[in-house]
Point group: C2
């Protein structure tokens, strides 16, 4: 197929497809292989890149790491997924916070009460501690009273996420599902929380 | 207090405080008011801006809208919160998706089954539809089987969020809590989901 047909098949505008190609995220068309240069493998790749970068907001460099690993002869889940997840994770600020110790204790006890086994250097742990310390510094400690609700929600969502991957045999499909699931799952939960907020705001400010 | 004391009180490095001031997010110090130029109101403001921008990732322009509204004589919740929430929300891509109609039907029926009242033009609705359409386009429809779990989690979290604001009388405190809660709540749920994933990955790949 030609690039115009690739655009039609994926719904992605031609200039954006050219941008993906320039950035090394989608292979160039090869007219030696077929008349238009593009085939179904390009359709799949454009859809994956669109999901990660355009819908999910993953940085280009992280997406390149992902597709390079998927294209490798022997793709590895940790190698493809690890750096990508890390790239889309928030960095802790490394500011000195007077509440840092208290925040870390709160996070430790939450992790313990969920029964989670988490490495000390897991990046999400530092980002979480940082957000908790910020609330403590701002005298918003009452807003932390519901962290258990957040943690239980995260537990249910993680189980649902894992269930979607469980039983999948193809390694490159696992990588794609893990990443697309992680990235679009963020959009899901963020959008759904905002929808639930919009519903509550309507009830509070415009009660019927 | 002087800027060095402001930095010590907030844990925010001096160059970053100067950046906040340059961007109009924190008022300049005024030595006519007190010897060092800065006071407790600056401590509060620096903490708020740090929470929104540095920890929460809110764009500078959106943060400026927020602090301008908080500084107004008669701060309004919808005016301060609306544009800020909108600025940190993902934009739908406006790509033509062959699964767009199917995605919208799925989203409508999810909203109906939750009993939510949501405006048709609520931005989170379009972002959510877009993510759902992307999964349908990628033949990952099986990953959508757990959207009810996500929606129920969002419902619980929204109720916990609202409970933190309920009973608060001071309007500028409501604005600050709503925004900090929305922004840091995203960090909470995203970090907790990643922690739960890390726990599940450890069980799957290194079972004890």
């Amino acid at each position: 197929m030609r690039i115009s047909e690739l655009s039609e098949a994926t719904g992605v505008p031609i200039p954006r497809i050219k941008y993906y190609i320039r950035e090394g995220l989608v292979p160039r068309g090869d007219t030696a292989l077929n008349p238009g240069g593009y085939d179904d493998s390009h359709v799949h790749r454009v859809r994956l890149v669109r999901a990660l970068v355009t819908v999910g907001g993953m940085p280009i460099d992280a997406a390149r790491t992902v597709v390079d690993e998927i294209d490798a002869d022997d793709p590895s889940i940790p190698k493809a997924v690890g750096p990508a997840i890390s790239a889309i994770s928030r960095r802790p600020t490394s500011d000195s916070s007077s509440s840092g110790d208290r925040a870390e204790k709160l996070v430790d006890s939450l992790i313990e009460s969920r029964g989670w086994t988490i490495a000390d250097d897991e990046p999400a742990r530092a980002a979480f501690s940082d957000a908790v310390a910020t609330m403590l510094d701002m005298d918003l400690a009452d807003m932390l009273g519901h962290l258990e609700v957040y943690a239980e929600a995260a537990d249910r969502i993680a189980d649902a996420d894992i269930a979607s991957i469980d039983g999948e045999a193809d390694l490159s499909a696992i990588v794609a599902k893990t990443l697309v699931g992680t990235v679009l799952g963020e959009v899901f939960i963020s959008s759904l929380r905002k929808l639930a907020h919009a519903d509550r705001a309507r009830r509070m400010f415009w009660p019927q």
